[in-house]
């Protein structure tokens, strides 16, 4: 790989910022994040190739190919691509070429989308929400803004860190980074916190309960109260597990949503649930 570094830290920072702001701005079914990739690299090409229009065209066309990953943890890929483009431009015979850049990019985007979505959308964001929503539901506006602060702060922090890291590591090390224990440790740790909180969240947020009462000759049989004595929050747990089970069986979320809607509506209308 080339020794010469043409790009300054500022150039890379600018690319990271462009990626952060615009990764999804014109998200679409056809090419997803390709436009963001090219936008972010435009100034980089300009600096690397100057007046060599042909090379710029080649670069733009290379980067307009389909690309999609998770924008935060996956920012390591655009960061790495900047490093690769720089290596290719400064030393075209050094082993890095256009085809290789596309290959590496395409090979990494899937795994990183998987890891990124699990850690961010599956774990971090729900944890931020579950804590701050409780405040907001009590009428604290600060709760809503606390969510913004956490989500935006971590989003920016992770994106910037991963982008710069990707640039520094270059292609070989990103592979090693993914295979190493770091990712596994992070997912396990957040998984424990997430599952632990999730159990409590069912009790806190799913407010449904059985309210069926049967009038007997001498007394009233209160099903809800009896159920609550045996296992508190039994109905919320069962409903969550039902919805989970349907999704595991491959039902679409929209279908599950409609089933829950019907159970709730009918159950409420006839006085079983409330």
């Amino acid at each position: 790989m080339a020794e010469a570094k043409v790009l300054t830290k500022k150039d890379v920072q600018k690319a990271a910022l462009t990626w952060f702001v615009s990764s999804h701005m014109t998200y679409n079914y056809q090419r997803l994040q390709a436009g963001a990739m090219t936008s972010m690299l435009g100034p980089v090409f300009q600096k690397l190739y100057g007046d060599n229009k042909e090379k710029i065209i080649e670069g733009c066309q290379r980067q307009m190919l389909y690309f999609n990953t998770e924008p935060r943890w996956g920012a390591i890929i655009p960061g790495m691509v900047v490093a690769l483009e720089e290596a290719y431009a400064t030393d075209p015979e050094g082993g890095v070429d256009g085809g290789l850049i596309t290959e590496i990019k395409t090979a990494l985007m899937g795994p990183l989308a998987g890891i990124g979505d699990t850690v961010w959308a599956g774990l971090m964001k729900p944890i931020f929400l579950s804590i701050t929503l409780a405040w907001a539901m009590q009428g604290m506006i600060a709760g809503a803004w606390a969510y913004w602060l956490l989500a935006f702060g971590f989003d920016f922090g992770i994106t910037y860190y991963m982008f710069m890291r990707g640039y520094k590591l270059g292609a070989d090390s990103v592979d090693r980074f993914l295979e190493g224990g770091f990712v596994k440790t992070v997912t396990t740790a957040i998984g424990i916190v997430g599952m632990f909180c999730l159990g409590a969240m069912i009790v806190k947020y799913v407010g449904i309960s059985a309210v069926l009462q049967i009038e007997m000759t001498t007394t009233t049989l209160d099903f809800g109260a009896i159920l609550n004595k045996i296992v508190p929050s039994f109905v919320p747990l069962m409903m969550t597990l039902l919805a989970y089970w349907m999704q595991v069986k491959g039902k679409k979320v929209t279908t599950v949503l409609l089933v829950l809607f019907l159970i709730g509506f009918i159950g409420g209308a006839i006085g079983f649930l409330g």
């Binding site: 990764s23 701005m25 014109t26 009790v203 039902l242 209308a269």
Partner: protein
């Protein structure tokens, strides 16, 4: 009129894709705050938005596929709830069909936005990266303006009274049904999270969290996060994740 225009502006900010907009305008709790602010009751708006938000806790858009539209569920859900003077549970139930409707808008957006890369290809062939960047920054938002801001403007302008009439028209049993639905729907958000996080070796933590909350009545999630964090730290130090990995793979 001014309020409807503000709603349209909010719908634009709510629909633009990117971290500068996702957390400040899209998340139902924040969308609720802004809608509340426009209609003079930010506290109530925040409460409604947060309540709707719970059903969308496990919301994820992988590769642009949506379950139910988070954008409009929060924005229009809060609007409808405030205009209809609804209870919180009913508001959650109403947010669902709105979210499903919004889904079509999202699909339309993702499909229409697919014309932009084709235009970008033309620019790329000329090496005009500045043009591509401009299109990247403005192409999507232009469609949001058309597909989200304009409809929301019309709904805000003409929808309020209709909603009120509709609510008055509903019989008691239907209101009971909607209220129960509202209390039940957060189970969906929980189940989506469960599907995401589920691993056999993590199941004890789920049961532990549920049992503590259900039997003690303690539900402060900051406390659970702290305890969970310590559990995770200790267990990983003891080698928790590594053994499990060998067992699975």
């Amino acid at each position: 009129m001014v309020q409807a225009l503000l709603m349209a502006l909010l719908a634009l900010l709510n629909g633009i894709q990117g971290p500068c907009h996702w957390y400040m305008f899209r998340e139902p709790v924040m969308a609720g705050f802004w809608v509340g602010l426009i209609y003079g009751d930010p506290v109530q708006g925040t409460i409604i938005g947060a309540t709707i938000n719970v059903s969308y806790l496990g919301w994820i858009s992988a590769g642009g596929a949506n379950a139910s539209d988070l954008y409009w569920a929060g924005l229009l859900g809060t609007f409808v709830a405030i205009k209809g003077g609804m209870s919180l549970d009913t508001a959650v139930a109403f947010a669902v069909p709105i979210g499903l409707l919004g889904n079509y808008v999202h699909v339309a957006y993702m499909t229409l936005a697919s014309i932009w890369p084709t235009r970008m290809d033309v620019l790329a062939a000329k090496g005009d990266w500045k043009g591509i960047r401009t299109l990247q920054f403005l192409g999507g938002p232009a469609l949001v303006l058309l597909l989200r801001a304009v409809p929301v403007f019309l709904i805000a302008l003409y929808g309020g009274d209709l909603i009120q009439q509709f609510i008055d028209f509903l019989p008691t049993w239907a209101m009971n049904g909607l209220a129960a639905t509202g209390k039940l729907l957060p189970a969906l958000g929980m189940s989506m999270l469960l599907k995401f996080m589920y691993k056999k070796e993590l199941l004890p933590f789920f049961i532990l969290g549920f049992a503590i909350a259900a039997y003690t009545g303690l539900t402060d999630l900051l406390m659970f996060a702290c305890v969970g964090g310590c559990l995770a730290f200790i267990l990983i130090k003891l080698g928790f994740g590594r053994d499990a990995e060998k067992g699975v793979e």
